[in-house]
């Protein structure tokens, strides 16, 4: 059935997702103060949170100083993926390939054929939806050493479905031999950039850019490709998470402390290959509920990957829940509104988890 036109503000009927999530505006109620969508890339940082600018761009510059074979390639989104930092430092190693993602991926494959290590950037929607075949047949099937680093993963823009890559992980998980990385914050992004540069093989990395929150330096944590790390321990629930949802899980865990709910957080920034050993080890400990939190659709992402791992190993947790985006084309709007609406803000996550305990 064709999607119906929107009603004017205030008369808007709640969507199924809004009804399911708390915080939705109900018709007939006085208008709440409405946030604006803001720029294409709103910062994920909450007010007062520590951030670092362009962690990917700066880390790549450091990597490239000792690696002359590293080149940068983009499809008219250098500035919006922080690759321009690399371009500024190494102008002759920076390839502006134009707004042509299919050709971008093929040309990166060609560069890798000649021994170079291209770091390729665009938005996650364009890499996953538009350029899939070219990544599959031009890069990954031949095992070429290309790093595809994509901004706007999941719900990190309010521009609506054209820019919200809510299914990129589901799409890419089906591709054999492709490593998938979903870092949490600035520290994770820097370390992951170094790690994927050192790894010989094709990688898809979900990129946080701009002023990226800095969280994990407060924990005993370092990024290791293919490893999940227990960032926080807890007795009642085990959260397995990737991307910025680890940051949200850590915030939610603090909120839940007030309700005497003790939450462990296992950060799994490598989604493929999944660190099944660490996940099974933690899931077997002490009959906790397992909650998988991801900035991605409930379909085909980390949640289903973890569920499959548990089922295949015959591990049955006390309960299994997902904090993830609904299987839907999401709304346009301001990120804080949308994160709350779809249940991936820290507060919404804490509310959900409390209701599940």
């Amino acid at each position: 059935m064709r999607r119906a036109k929107r009603m004017p503000p205030g008369a808007q009927a709640p969507t199924a997702a809004e009804q399911a999530a708390e915080g939705g505006q109900l018709p007939g109620q006085p208008l709440k103060k409405r946030l604006t969508t803001s720029a294409m890339i709103a910062s994920l940082a909450s007010e007062g949170q520590r951030t670092k600018p362009a962690p990917f761009g700066h880390a790549l510059v450091e990597v490239a100083k000792n690696r002359p074979e590293v080149v940068g390639m983009t499809a008219d989104l250098g500035k919006y993926t922080d690759l321009h930092i690399f371009g500024r430092e190494f102008p002759d190693r920076y390839y502006q390939m134009g707004m042509a993602e299919q050709n971008l991926m093929l040309a990166a494959g060609g560069m890798a054929h000649e021994g170079f290590v291209p770091f390729v950037t665009t938005y996650a929607v364009f890499a996953s939806r538009r350029a899939y075949d070219f990544i599959s047949q031009g890069i990954v099937e031949e095992g070429l050493n290309v790093k595809i680093c994509c901004a706007l993963p999941g719900l990190t823009t309010g521009y609506g479905p054209s820019h919200q890559a809510t299914e990129d992980v589901a799409i890419f998980r089906g591709m054999p031999d492709l490593t998938i990385v979903d870092p949490c914050d600035a520290l994770d992004t820097e370390q992951a950039t170094r790690a994927i540069a050192a790894h010989d093989g094709p990688v898809y990395m979900r990129l946080l850019r701009g002023n990226v929150p800095l969280v994990l330096d407060e924990y005993d944590y370092s990024f290791e490709l293919g490893k999940a790390k227990l960032v926080r321990d807890g007795a009642d629930a085990l959260v397995v998470s990737s991307g910025f949802m680890t940051m949200r899980a850590l915030e939610a865990a603090k909120l839940l402390e007030a309700d005497r709910v003790s939450v462990a957080v296992l950060h799994s920034p490598t989604i493929k290959p999944l660190d099944e050993e660490a996940i099974l080890r933690e899931a077997r400990r002490g009959g906790r509920m397992v909650v998988v939190a991801e900035n991605h659709s409930v379909i085909g992402g980390l949640g289903e990957a973890v569920a499959g791992t548990l089922l295949r190993a015959g591990v049955a947790p006390a309960a299994f829940r997902q904090v993830a985006l609904p299987d839907a084309f999401l709304d346009a709007g301001a990120l804080p509104t949308l994160h709350d609406r779809y249940g991936i803000s820290a507060e919404a996550m804490a509310r959900s988890m409390k209701s599940w305990m």
């Binding site: 390839y95 134009g98 050709n103 093929l106 040309a107 560069m111 054929h113 000649e114 047949q137 031009g138």
Partner: protein
């Protein structure tokens, strides 16, 4: 270890090379009983001129850094490329009979990891030219003066990424790129003009910043002149040689066969085809 750059005086003529390429292709076709025979016969002269006039390579070292790269974008033309790789001594002749059989190094659609001398996994049509663009950029970075040849079909001109790559090559002024378009005017569903008309071709490529030539792709002499002109051009532009070819060229009773994209040849016809080919052989 000789770098083979020109046709030696005592070497077989290009016409003889083309004949042998066609013969190899027919023998491989017979293993399957059907396949992309007509394309292989049609493009044989282009491959003969490429591998025995234009390309620099070492048969004993197919990955030699100093080679010109030859990309087979049209994966299903693998039978044609195997035929020339065998003639060039890159693939052993005794593997010919394994074509398209289990565990063979010569699969029906070309794959880089399977076959010596196969640079890329083509077959998802429209991917070769973009890879060639990246290789050309890479070779320039390395200061190499080698060429990248991309062999594609007129059917691949239907694909959007072909034109993304064409525009990109023009933008980057890739003078080390030579694209060969095999225009046999036959696609999977029928004649190209009915499937999706891509003419006028030279004008399209020129508008994308290319140096374009159009030749009779079954005239070895014309092909040699076109390759020479493409290589000698000093203007920093990518070069395309549009080769008008005839499906199943060299075997008259197959040339007129209508269903030529994936041609069925009856068991008793293979010997006749080889005889017909032999009859047209120029000693």
């Amino acid at each position: 270890m000789g770098e083979r750059t020109t046709t030696l005086a005592n070497a077989p003529s290009l016409e003889e090379r083309a004949y042998r390429i066609r013969r190899n292709a027919l023998r491989m076709g017979e293993v399957q009983g059907q396949g992309y025979i007509a394309q292989a016969l049609g493009v044989a002269d282009v491959l003969a001129a490429a591998y025995f006039h234009a390309l620099r390579y070492r048969p004993e070292d197919p990955e030699w850094e100093g080679r010109d790269r030859f990309l087979l974008s049209i994966g299903h033309y693998a039978i044609a490329l195997y035929a020339v790789l065998i003639e060039a001594g890159i693939v052993p002749a005794d593997e010919l009979e394994t074509y398209g059989t289990d565990d063979s190094r010569l699969p029906m659609s070309g794959m880089a990891a399977y076959t010596p001398g196969m640079e890329i996994s083509g077959g998802s049509l429209g991917i070769g030219l973009g890879i060639a663009v990246g290789m050309c950029l890479g070779l320039k970075r390395k200061g190499s003066d080698r060429f990248v040849y991309n062999l594609m079909s007129d059917g691949e001109l239907d694909e959007g990424p072909t034109w993304e790559a064409a525009m990109s090559a023009g933008h980057w002024k890739l003078g080390n790129l030579i694209c060969l378009v095999d225009v046999n005017r036959m696609q999977a569903d029928g004649p190209s003009t009915g499937v999706l008309n891509s003419e006028p071709l030279p004008e399209k490529w020129e508008a994308f910043g290319w140096h374009a030539q159009r030749v009779d792709g079954n005239d070895v002499g014309a092909l040699v002149r076109a390759f020479d002109a493409a290589r000698a051009l000093e203007e920093p532009k990518p070069r395309v040689i549009i080769c008008d070819t005839k499906m199943a060229k060299g075997v008259p009773f197959l040339e007129t066969r209508e269903k030529s994209h994936f041609m069925r040849v009856e068991q008793h016809e293979w010997a006749q085809a080889l005889e017909a080919l032999e009859a047209g052989r120029k000693a």
